[in-house]
């Protein structure tokens, strides 16, 4: 430690600044070597200098961190169950301060992630930045791409509104088209043959615990591998041995990266403030007329799957997607040439343009078909109107199950209903609780039917057992009709 104090070795090279060597920062630095970390993070050489083309990676990192933070905060109020998910999201959207804004930030953040991810992949592909010992970097990026799509898919269900429910029903149904194991995978994803509360639990666990853990690990690997391989630089740079004069990441590239971050903050902020994400009415699985539509980024796949039915389905659902994924994964292994200039790589560029246009084309086609099928267009308009209507309604708390039990009993049987009045009039509820749920003073009467017959109950009411008397249970002296009603009520408690 003492040597650090004397020498100047913490001072950056190239006249680069570091933390001050005196006072608190100096002490912190001697204890942590924070300076080294900062220098490693910031003084990464970029062959050919800083460019706006390289800003998307850190943009993605920013959105990811934003998603993590907003996600953690949303979990303060969210409950992952078919009973409560929609109510709690409605509570977040309609009641909690800044709730609509934060939820919108999280939901639109997913879309922003997809857009920036597409730009990041496009830049990498067009610049040939996957070349030159960057196979693992590319593969970790592909895995991250898949995980981000999985996050979008699992997160979409969680609000449990009509839109979410039906889109996920269709999405999980598509999986069952996979031959042999498709049906089992679907059942595994749903936690059963139908969509239900187990589906929410599974999607929640995947969305909140599993996938994020993998993303964290892979983001770390991706950055590590990137730093190991080094920035690829411009298209005319040698991917193996960069020769162009390099510029450090800080400050110019940092400023360029921050400009995207600023743009994202302003764009998302304005969008979330002026056009917050809507929550539709709660999922109603019985609604047979509902026309499901996925989020925009899944429209191309949605449209693609429409073309494949019957015996040909295996080609469209399994063979072609698998080949495409394999081709993408194998890219850095197949394309070993050092040529990175797009205009010298017509096949690669052709494939890129073809895939990009196909995706956009499929998405537009889906939109076009919806607009030109009057039945569908009408139903979609109706669904949007229902969403608007639901969005305008004030928040209505969910009736707790205890209240429902108490309410249901009164309706069931007139004798039991009379018994309930006696139960309360005789202050039985004072000790046994409303609806016989039990209190600290006396045990629950719920389900007592299984233990005692009506005759046994009548006997216990007249002559309580010694243990009951000791607990404060009085003997009940009622006219026979009232006693009968009281017993009917107590027996009805479930």
């Amino acid at each position: 430690m003492h040597s650090t104090d004397k020498t100047d070795k913490d001072k950056g090279e190239n006249g680069a600044p570091g933390l001050p060597q005196k006072g608190f920062w100096g002490w912190l630095n001697r204890r942590t070597s924070l300076d080294n970390l900062l220098r490693t993070a910031l003084y990464e050489p970029i062959p050919g200098g800083a460019r706006f083309a390289y800003i998307f990676g850190s943009g993605l990192l920013f959105i990811f961190i934003s998603q993590v933070i907003t996600g953690i905060f949303l979990a303060l109020y969210y409950v992952p169950s078919a009973d409560h998910a929609h109510t709690t999201v409605a509570y977040i959207t309609k009641a909690v301060t800044a709730g609509s804004f934060l939820r919108s930030l999280h939901a639109y953040g997913a879309s922003a992630m997809i857009i920036v991810l597409f730009l990041h992949i496009s830049q990498t592909y067009v610049y040939g930045s996957y070349k030159g010992r960057r196979e693992l970097l590319w593969l970790s990026g592909c895995a991250l791409f898949g995980l981000v799509l999985a996050m979008a898919f699992t997160g979409y269900l969680l609000p449990w509104d009509q839109r979410a429910y039906f889109a996920t029903a269709v999405g999980t149904n598509a999986v069952s088209e996979v031959p042999w194991i498709g049906e089992s995978i679907k059942r595994l994803m749903r936690g059963g043959t139908e969509m239900g509360t187990l589906t929410i639990s599974r999607f929640f666990v995947a969305h909140v615990f599993l996938i994020p853990a993998f993303i964290f690990a892979l983001v770390a690997s991706h950055i590590l591998l990137f730093r190991k391989a080094g920035a690829a630089g411009p298209v005319n740079e040698d991917p193996y041995h960069p020769k162009q004069k390099s510029e450090l990441f800080y400050p110019r590239q940092v400023l360029m990266d921050l400009s995207l971050t600023a743009l994202l903050i302003i764009g998302l902020g304005l969008l979330c403030f002026f056009a917050p994400m809507q929550l539709g009415p709660p999922a109603n699985p019985a609604d047979a007329r509902y026309v499901p539509r996925p989020e925009w980024y899944y429209l191309p796949i949605f449209q693609w799957l429409k073309y494949w039915h019957g015996s040909a389905a295996i080609v469209g659902v399994l063979v072609i997607p698998t080949l495409l994924v394999l081709a993408i994964l194998a890219l850095p292994f197949l394309d070993k040439s050092v040529e990175r200039r797009p205009w010298k790589r017509p096949a690669a560029m052709g494939a890129y343009v073809f895939v990009a246009f196909s995706l956009v084309g499929l998405g537009l086609r889906s939109q076009y078909l919806d607009r030109h099928d009057s039945g569908v267009a009408q139903q979609l308009a109706k669904q949007r109107a229902e969403e608007d209507e639901y969005a305008r309604k004030p928040f209505e708390p969910e009736l707790s199950s205890a209240s429902l039990v108490a309410a249901n009993v009164t309706l069931a049987d007139p004798l039991a209903a009379k018994g309930k009045i006696i139960f309360e009039g005789q202050s039985c509820n004072a000790c046994h609780g409303d609806g016989g749920v039990g209190t600290a003073a006396a045990p629950a009467l719920v389900g007592i039917r299984a233990k005692f017959s009506p005759d046994q109950l009548a006997e216990l009411f007249k002559h309580p057992a010694p243990k009951m008397s000791a607990g404060g249970m009085p003997s009940i002296d009622l006219p026979p009709d009232d006693l009968k009603a009281l017993i009917a009520y107590v027996e009805s408690l479930k």
Partner: protein, 187 residues
């Protein structure tokens, strides 16, 4: 959020030194301040979201309607009413029913009594013959206006907070501690 991105770049350059460095350290300082400012701005909705229970009521006992004032104008003895109590607990609510008595105090003003005995919590019925509230559990008795007459209870029956809205009597149902001589709200 952004402050994380910001910190990374920022904290670096508070260093002093020769002039090629000073421009960078100025930029570093600018980024630190900017990063902190944007970070603070972005945490405003997060803080508001988390502090919601401090900004608004998240748990609440709603006032329950008892009946129109006119129904109680010619009251000669305590009248039992079953009220619906709505208890809001965050995003859910519980609805329960409780018996209360509408009666008059010595000055003839309306008063609503909870039927829960202040002794041990049994429901106290009005006994017309004895012109008293008589608790079935341990025999505490109370006058028509709820004041204690005899028995083990340490205080009279508990009055509930009332208000009048559009000619209707409203009551806020509450529980009180038992076995003490002073009325003490417990929930």
């Amino acid at each position: 959020m952004v402050e994380d991105a910001g910190h990374l770049e920022s904290g670096t350059s508070l260093g002093s030194g020769s002039s090629p460095e000073s421009r960078r350290s100025f930029l570093g300082a600018l980024l630190s301040v900017g990063g902190l400012f944007v970070g603070a701005l972005l945490s405003v909705p997060l803080i508001r979201f988390a502090l919601f229970p401090l900004l608004r009521r998240t748990t609440e006992l709603k006032e329950s309607p008892v009946g129109a004032l006119t129904e109680f104008s010619s009251l000669t003895e305590p009248m039992m009413r079953t009220i619906q109590i709505e208890q809001v607990d965050g995003w859910r609510k519980a609805v329960s029913e409780k018996a209360v008595y509408v009666t008059k105090d010595s000055q003839g003003r309306l008063r609503v009594l909870t039927s829960i005995c202040p002794h041990l919590g049994c429901t106290v019925p009005w006994n017309k013959e004895k012109d008293r509230f008589v608790c079935p559990c341990h025999g505490a008795t109370f006058a028509a206006d709820g004041t204690r007459v005899s028995g083990p209870s340490l205080r009279g029956m508990d009055t509930l907070e009332t208000s009048v809205q559009d000619g209707e009597l409203q009551v806020r149902f509450q529980y009180f501690r038992q076995l003490v001589s002073d009325k003490e709200i417990i929930g």
